[in-house]
Amino acid sequence: MRTTSSSPDSPSGMPAPGADPLWYKDAVIYELHARAFHDSNGDGIGDFPGLLQKLDYVQDLGVTTIWLLPFYPSPLKDDGYDISDYTGINPAYGTLENFREFLEQAHRRNLRVITELVINHTSDQHPWFQEARSSPDNPRRDWYVWSNTDDRYRGVRIIFKDSELSNWTWDPISKAYYWHRFFSHQPDLNFDNPAVVEEIWKVMQFWADMGVDGFRVDAVPYLVEREGTSCENLPETHDVVKFLRRRLNEKYPMIFLLAEANQWPADVRHYFGDGDEFQMAFHFPLMPRMFMGVKLEDRKPIMDILQQTPDIPETCQWGIFLRNHDELTLEMVSDVERDYMYDMYALDAGARLNLGIRRRLAPLMDGDRRRLELMNGMLMSLPGSPVLYYGDEIGMGDNIFLGDRNGVRTPMQWSGGWNAGFSAADPERLYLPLLSNPVYGYQTVNVEAQRRTDHSLWSWMKKLIQVRKSTRAFSRGGIEFLQPRNHRVFAYIRTLGNDRVLVVNNLSRSAQPVELDLRAFEGYIPVEMFGGNPFPRIGRLPYLMTLPPYGFYWFRMRRL
């Protein structure tokens, strides 16, 4: 039963007539944390009423979907990914009523909202775990994975290797070891227990009835464990997903599931199933290779990974991104590639965390506006639904000295005034300090300043999103790579029906000439999409183009 629903699809929450169940394919997703966005009550912590106040901003930017990082009650030892109550709101961020109101207002602005479903583990403070650990006979004992020794599942990799020595931790209360793939305060749920699966379904129903439009499922590959395996991507994990998806389809066909599975494309492919598992999954291996391509000034790493990416069901979509709330993960690269990335992007060892780099996009691009544009241009033109991390639209910086990944989770910088316009609280009360250095500090980088000028990064990003949304060739089209001899140029054609877009990216810091073989499009007129200017008609000879440093073009191919 749905208690409240304000889906943009219809007041009843069921698909409105003509509603597109594949809406997520056209989504431009904006990832944010309620805590970091805007504080309405002056306690130094962002909240839902504050977020609501900024919905006009989000709408104005042009994104279509908000992905909310965990906002549930939590001890906050892992920034909310350690959940102690799946159906509540962390009081610091507001109430359920605040959330409902935010959701409704988002939907009124045609903004969809997806939330986190962190089901691999809970906080050790969750009542379920408190009960499970209390006694081996407790009914919830089997809701978690216990062992008398730490010998089981030998050889399984440790994900948070900078802070954990083992995937097992001894519980002195329970006098047994419990399994955790992440922090020791995040015991893994036991998905071999049907009761667990049922309970998770109830959680999903709770939020679906409230009107959320999708769930980003955290840490999917690790749901199930089996002896003698890597405990990742097991068939039983897929069975759980299929089960939940089936239930979702029956009752909430417009809600989509997004998988966080940091795996090779061939392994992630399985999470789409036959269109009966996740509708969307992040393309993790693509992301570091975009950074590599720009540094190497060579399209090879990007092309290689995309050419290795398997086809997915028609109803499915990749989620592509540049940065997010976590470290820039380098799990899905070779050792040689990782060393290269560290040397190029994280020479300061303080920027390295686990197997990644904890920096935001702008500092990674050395604040180079051209590179920022190029990277975002690729993000918006490659196959998949783009995910934009809050603050990257204005080029926010980071602070690697804040520990863990907090450096990329600092308050949104709205203005150059008090607390960057984020909060009326005393600055010392903020949940994290503001960035204040002369380059990325809030006095220099803020929304208010950038919205005043047409030439700011923010204005440019808004335009970029607008142009991207002008054709579904980007969101739903196929891709054909052109392979000009100049390896510094990364060019491709996005096609959906008769809609064709030619994308040409210069990955190099210097101007580049390129001859494109466009004979298949002889007679077409390329129209540059940002300025609307037609370019010379394509003939039989190689189409010569020159690109400025880090420049890119999007051309709509017109046949006139």
């Binding site: 190497l296 060579d298 070779s334 050792d335 590639e337 290269y340 000009p484 001899r485 100049n486 390896h487």
Partner: protein, 424 residues
């Protein structure tokens, strides 16, 4: 005078597509289809393994192969580098093939490579032969590393030679160059060398003597020009040099004409340098030299002696115009010895070479004839060398060679004196 345009449009177009690079590896070819793919693979693996982050290009100047060599070069690829190395290449691997105009010859190919290196701003440029059977990826590291990262301008090879292999180098080229130029470089006609970008640019700009150095001579010229130009010179152990194409003993005339003739010409071009060069210094050497003794090359010593003996006799009128009376008498005397007693002493041999060099310089006779006359005399030296060292181990042979080199050094004033003497 208008500058010459010698790079084809197609080649320039390919280079433009490649763009700026750090490393150029040159692989000149002519009808090497049977061997070239393995060489290309070794180069590619070497680049990926040892220079994964550098921008590199393999350039294949071809003299007009008719056997599908360039197609083989383009087709040579490693489908999955992970089968050979731990990872795939970071960067696009570029392989460019282009026909070079003009007469087939090393110097034309090298010129093309110098131009490519200059145009692409390469920091290091290595050259590799297409018929190598013994090349490994480590050769690329050994050659390129000193030029790319250690600041050297010229990297010569050191091959692990079989006993009695490379005797022309060991008895004539190496010791004469050492004495004259003052550098102890092992292989002055090494075909696997590397240059810094700036030395390649210098060679590109100094093409005035290009036609003087056919074949192997081009490498000799590079080696000596680097030394004479004050560039930083080093050498690197590569390993055995085994090629598919074998020079036959009947090619000795050509070898001497190319190699000795080129050396004498180099001495002329660089005389302002070596005539005043006082010291003799060791050349920094990189790499690991294995101690494994290879089987000796088989040489028909007796036949060599016979050809020497008869040659000295037949060519006496010619030798009289080249050698001093004392030297000629000494050679004539040893030519009459029994084969078993025959010895061609170090001092006599070194003196002979010095006089040949000086006579070449003075054009005492037609230079081609002069070089032809050197051939039988050289055969005598080879015969004696083998007779003396037939049972000696590698270390003992090396000691004998060092003694020979010191003899050359001792005779440098004699060389200078003869070089500078007024010709009547």
């Amino acid at each position: 005078m208008a500058e010459e345009r010698f790079l084809s449009d197609e080649f320039v177009s390919q280079l433009t597509a490649v763009g700026e690079v750090d490393i150029v590896v040159g692989l000149p070819t002519f009808n090497n289809r049977d061997t070239v793919q393995r060489v290309v693979n070794a180069i590619l693996v070497g680049l990926v393994k040892y220079f994964p982050r550098q921008r590199s290009v393999l350039i294949n100047p071809d003299a007009g192969s008719k056997d599908g060599t360039t197609e083989a070069v383009q087709a040579a690829s490693i489908p999955d580098f992970r089968a050979v190395l731990a990872s795939s290449p970071l960067r696009t691997m570029h392989v460019v093939s282009a026909r070079y105009p003009g007469v087939q010859g090393e110097s034309e190919a090298l010129r093309m490579l110098f131009a490519a290196a200059d145009l692409l701003g390469a920091k290091a440029c290595a050259f590799v032969s297409p018929d190598l059977e013994s090349i490994t990826p480590e050769w690329i590291d050994a050659l390129v590393q000193p030029a790319l990262k250690d600041g050297f301008d010229f990297v010569g090879p050191i091959y692990q030679r079989r006993r009695f292999d490379g005797l022309l180098v060991k008895n004539l080229l190496h010791p004469l160059i050492r004495a004259a130029y003052g550098y102890q470089i092992e292989e002055p006609v090494g075909r696997e060398v590397a240059l810094s970008g700036r030395l390649a640019s210098y060679f590109l700009s100094d093409q005035s003597h290009r036609e003087d150095f056919p074949g192997l001579g081009a490498f000799e010229w590079m080696t000596t020009a680097a030394m004479a130009g004050g560039y930083r010179v080093c050498q690197a152990f590569l390993g055995p040099r085994v090629t598919a194409s074998k020079r036959s003993a009947l090619d000795l005339n050509t070898a001497i004409k190319e190699v000795a003739g080129s050396l004498f010409r180099c001495l002329e071009i660089h005389q302002s340098y070596w005539l005043s060069r006082q010291k003799c210094e060791q050349v920094p050497t990189f790499g690991f030299q294995p101690v494994l003794d290879l089987d000796p090359v088989r040489i028909d010593r007796k036949r060599m002696f016979q050809m020497f003996s008869s040659g000295v006799d037949d060519l006496r009128p010619v030798l009289e115009q080249i050698l001093s009376p004392g030297t000629l008498e000494a050679i004539t005397a040893i030519a009459k010895l029994e084969e078993r007693q025959f010895r061609f002493p170090d001092d006599l041999w070194a003196k002979t070479v010095c006089e040949f060099a000086a006579s070449y310089h003075h054009s005492a006779i037609n230079r081609d004839h002069l070089l032809q006359a050197l051939t039988p005399v050289y055969r005598g030296r080879v015969s004696s060398f083998i007779l003396e060292n037939g049972r000696a181990g590698s270390e003992d042979v090396e000691l004998k060679l060092e003694s020979l080199r010191q003899e050359y050094e001792r005779l440098k004033p004699y060389l200078i004196e003869n070089w500078n003497r007024k010709v009547r």
